[in-house]
Symmetry: C5
Subunit: 83 residues, 5 copies
Amino acid sequence: MEIMQVAGSLVCTHRVDGLSHMNLRILRTPKGKLSVAVDPVGAAIGNWVFTASGSAARFACPDPAVQTDLTIGGIIDFWEPDG
Amino acid sequence: MEIMQVAGSLVCTHRVDGLSHMNLRILRTPKGKLSVAVDPVGAAIGNWVFTASGSAARFACPDPAVQTDLTIGGIIDFWEPDG
Amino acid sequence: MEIMQVAGSLVCTHRVDGLSHMNLRILRTPKGKLSVAVDPVGAAIGNWVFTASGSAARFACPDPAVQTDLTIGGIIDFWEPDG
Amino acid sequence: MEIMQVAGSLVCTHRVDGLSHMNLRILRTPKGKLSVAVDPVGAAIGNWVFTASGSAARFACPDPAVQTDLTIGGIIDFWEPDG
Amino acid sequence: MEIMQVAGSLVCTHRVDGLSHMNLRILRTPKGKLSVAVDPVGAAIGNWVFTASGSAARFACPDPAVQTDLTIGGIIDFWEPDG
């Protein structure tokens, strides 16, 4: 699982049916790469989170039919990048 | 899920049976890397989209028997690269 | 799915049982990295192809019991690298 | 499977239900990249371990319903980085 | 599937139950990166092999309950790196 920071939300009106109920967040890795994740825990902008990828991302939604390959697994209580 | 831009369509007469009904798009990452994705949402050239990979790509078609590892999950309403 | 070029065949007498009937091809990415893929479509050396990875590779054989993580999905009708 | 070193534990009060009973460790690759893994073997800080990713990570917990994409598979008896 | 060379065996007394019967090998990619793989074919140090990752690695053991994400699929009859 990877450590990333919430950078914003993704506005996406036109999407596949299996993602229709999910909040989508833009996440940034410590190196600056952006990804999109489903957020079942309610993370806020600036929060550091860890993410599950692959089949684990679908189970973590927790509905395994959700068509995601990246899901926030939890909010880290305290994190300092490069620390 | 990754953020990519639609660069074109892929003409591919000779393909495996499980992809016979699907539209294939060429996508470009912000760093310029090209990939091929199944497109169930009807994205146009120049659209910014997000993609699901792995087993989620098959479920997003929405037929899980489709033999893809990358499927467009939605068209992003507004996106500025490097923004 | 990735775009690669067929560089050759792989001679491999001693292999796991689940791959015994399959043709194995050596593929090269545009950046020169080599991989091994199962070929159910009969691609020739020099052909540009696209590949499915992960669980999709097993379904594309089309026997999902085949123990591959990379399978050729189709031959691209026309492709110019860097074009 | 990858070789990594245990760098610490992850404090994460707010997490998805499927990870509630699991110990989470911060791991560091030989190149310094940090990841988060479920630890079913009781590794200590400084131990060198190998990790299973993807669907294997869920099976290694050993409960396949655990929503992890990285799980410690074992503690290496002796390891010298760059050796 | 990737092409790698067998660099050694991994001594690992303390491991998860699902790997208890398997031989573990240390493999090296042509670029020098080390990984750990299950070896069902009996490869020797110095052999060039190809590997299956992801769910295919579990099926190639051939027991899909084995908790591996990388398994040797075969020994290459002849291979010259950079050739």
